[in-house]
Amino acid sequence: APAPRAEDLSLEVEWLSKFGYLPPADPATGQLQTQEELSKAVAAMQRFAGLEATGVLDVATRARMRTPRCSLPDLPAPARRRR
């Protein structure tokens, strides 16, 4: 599959954040996700969706992201770490 373009990636990152797999992007710093964090988030989403947890945004994973669904997150918002 062709490597995802930057804007696709941002859509997927937004999706992962919306449904609790990534922390909400920090509007101030426009926090960029490390590749490792992104891969972990994708794997968690694949497990939840009953897909093979490869951590790679493959066709099946992106297709599942487009399936109609409930708006509520799949994972509870990560508890804020005490500073």
Binding site: F48, A49, G50, T67, P68, R69, C70, S71, L72
Partner: protein
């Protein structure tokens, strides 16, 4: 670490469809019926009781909205996110459910592109009672839409979802001691439209267990908001303020008086409290208080709250000239002060203050003419306003004078179920209902 699950502390939850889908082929009644059944899925397996209300104070407000609708889950047009609901908790949206009105909501449709409203509603009400998403593919609580889940009348939750609901609320109590185990439960169900090819050819005929008004011994009689209610088993008849019978056919008690246990097969006594106009139902050792037609939270409660002994009451009514309520059981009666909420001293006593009233009663009520009426078996006694003795010529026939039946004396075999009033109605009975003129008078009050 998953947050502690939130759940409702109360068991009676009201719901209301506040806004309906705008351009949907699904009519409003179908949407309401589907919501009823989707809630019933969870109510059948837990101690939660759901009842529809009209007011804006419903616990579960249901809306069909589009795009940004003032919560943190804006919709995104057709597809994508299709609905969401809020978990229980102390915020004002707790339990509310929102459906994307840009979706093509369907019911019993083979349209693969439609969104089956019942399936999505069952999922969302799972959230509304406190369940979160799960990864299990067999669960109704997995986040992705999986298509229709079958007929709402026969849908059964996957076991994993039942267990998670039981972990929150425990299981639904078994049948109540008074219910007959083998009675088929007539469901209190809003009607779903039949699939086009299965529309029944014969009109709906009331079940065979429906009592007949002309041969019934009534369990309870009450004047409520100026209207008369005659209760028998799971049914009741209603007379409006002009003493006209609203319908020859009885109504189902559970479908009007919302929040009574589904297995309750009758009541012992009913009365309207003079101080706050709430309505009190008695059955055995328990009682329920209704605000309008919905039971209040925290009921049933024991009749010992009134200072009554175990075993309950046969009859109850409020006396016009005081804030006193009289309770009757077997040959005894009590006088209760609604203001101080205490029994008056010297009770129970044996002979009630009205001469000529039978020693045991089915129920009693005050009517708009100011008189008190006492009912037992097929007869009633009248004590005119401001008097303390039964009027001459009583008892009279309840069926004839209140329920528009033929006079049992004039035609003894006509006193039974076929004793419908008609050409034989006794002369001078001015308060005749129109029922015998070949059509039924039906009134809807809510």
């Amino acid at each position: 670490q998953a947050p502690a699950p939130t759940k409702w502390s109360k068991r009676n939850l009201s719901w209301r469809v506040r806004t309906f889908p705008r351009d949907s082929p699904l009519g409003r009644d179908t949407v309401r019926a589907l919501m009823h059944y989707a809630l019933k899925v969870w109510g059948d397996i837990t101690p939660l009781n759901f009842h529809e209300v009209a007011g804006s104070a419903a616990d579960i407000q249901i809306d069909f909205s589009t795009a940004d609708h003032n919560d943190r889950y804006p919709f995104d047009g057709p597809g994508g996110t299709v609905a969401h609901a809020f978990l229980p908790g102390d915020h004002h949206t707790a339990g509310d459910a929102h459906f994307d009105d840009d979706e093509a909501w369907t019911f019993r449709s083979s349209d693969a592109h439609g969104m089956d409203l019942f399936a999505v509603a069952v999922h969302e009400f799972g959230h509304a009672i406190g369940l979160s998403h799960v990864a299990a593919t067999q669960s109704i609580m997995q986040p992705y839409y999986q298509g229709p889940v079958g007929d709402p009348l026969h849908y059964g939750l996957p076991y994993a979802d039942r267990v998670r609901a039981w972990q929150l609320y425990g299981v639904r109590e078994s049948v109540s001691p008074t219910a007959q185990l083998d009675t088929a439960e007539p469901e209190e169900t809003p009607l779903l439209p039949e699939p086009p090819d299965h529309r029944p050819s014969t009109p709906h005929v009331p079940g065979k267990d429906v009592p007949h008004r002309c041969s019934a011994h009534f369990d309870a009689v009450a004047q409520i908001r100026g209207e008369a209610f005659f209760f028998k088993g799971r049914y009741f008849w209603r007379l409006n303020r002009d003493r006209h019978l609203v319908s020859l056919q009885p109504a189902q008690m559970h479908r009007f008086w919302r929040g009574l246990p589904p297995h309750l097969d009758g009541v012992d006594a009913v009365y309207e409290r003079t101080i706050d106009h709430k309505i009190v139902f008695f059955r055995g050792d328990r009682y329920w208080v209704f605000q309008d037609t919905h039971v209040e939270e925290g009921f049933p409660r024991p009749v010992s709250d009134f200072g009554l002994p175990p075993g309950g009451v046969d009859a109850a009514f409020s006396w016009a000239h005081s804030d006193k309520t009289y309770f009757f059981k077997d040959q005894l009666y009590w006088r209760y002060n609604e203001l101080t909420r205490r029994m008056d001293p010297g009770h129970p006593a044996r002979s009630p203050p009205w001469r000529g009233v039978p020693s045991t009663l089915d129920d009693a009520m005050r009517w708009s003419d100011g008189a008190a009426y006492f009912f037992r078996g097929r007869e009633y006694w009248k004590v005119p306003d401001s008097e303390l003795a039964v009027a001459p010529g009583y008892p009279q026939s309840t069926a004839r004078d209140w329920l528009v039946c033929r006079d049992p004396q004039a035609d003894p075999e006509g006193g039974g179920a076929e004793g419908e009033a008609g050409a034989h109605a006794p002369p001078g009975q001015h308060d005749r209902s129109h029922a015998e003129d070949g059509y039924q008078v039906c009134a809807c009050s809510s």
